[in-house]
Symmetry: C2
Subunit: 154 residues, 2 copies
């Protein structure tokens, strides 16, 4: 099923999922894919650059790729040994990097959006009671949904 | 850790994993990502276009993308609620589509390679006792490893 917005089943599946695979590609079309935590909010998906150790966050390949090429895909899938129960939702969309901190000249709207994403992430993932999230250097990736495809049992 | 070949830990992690996320990109650099089963064999990774229902297999986006752009990434990751136990292996490589059946003019080597991939897949996934795999119309994707990166606890 291919949709430009999410069905109730797709929304439920994404809300319940704990992890996805975010695919980006650089300007030369080399694909890259990393596991991400995420939240869904009104047709947009937010994934943080959080405090899990990963070196200099601003140099992350996913961010370099999004700056070069904002098209992304996010896969959220369920694997079970009973293959009649496999299922996934695949989101295609456009990504934008949001600065969570007090970047000069950043619109107040963007700051509010980051705070809202942070609150939703804290609500979904209790791990953020101890893992750093938000703060002056924080970054979020916002994915604006363009198409959702689902397959199998979701 | 970035390597041009797999470490023993990476090999063990990939051998034990049941599913990965295969990222491809089309000629315009639009990324795509799908869940795949796979086997590792001597620095190469094989993933089948098998009998799980998915419409016309030859029209699959992953195959169209690989024909346009053979660069791929394969993510194999473990998610746990204890985030100190997260881990993944990311493979970057070049993909080639192998025809498992009796395509005209196909080298005998390719046929033997498909048979070997099929045997390894049947050994790893008992689901192929009932799900179709191989046969005259079968296709396999071979990924030749160029770089492996791992992160966290693998």
């Amino acid at each position: 099923m291919v949709m430009r917005s999410l069905t109730p089943d797709q929304t439920r599946f994404l809300d319940a999922a704990r992890v996805g695979a975010l695919a980006t590609a650089d300007g030369d079309g080399h694909p890259h894919v990393v596991p991400v935590v995420f939240v869904l909010d009104d047709g947009r998906i937010y994934t943080p650059i959080d405090g899990k150790p990963k070196g200099d966050p601003r140099g992350l390949r996913r961010l370099r790729n999004i700056r070069e090429n904002p098209r992304v895909s996010l896969l959220v899938s369920r694997y079970e040994e009973d293959w009649t129960r496999l299922g996934f939702v695949l989101i295609r969309g456009t990504a934008m990097i949001l600065e969570g901190g007090s970047a000069d000249g950043r619109p107040a709207e963007e700051e509010a959006e980051c705070r809202s994403a942070e609150a939703l992430l804290r609500e979904k993932y209790s791990q953020y009671e101890t893992v750093p999230l938000g703060g002056p250097d924080s970054l979020f990736i916002r994915i604006t949904l363009e198409r959702a495809t689902s397959w199998g049992m979701i």
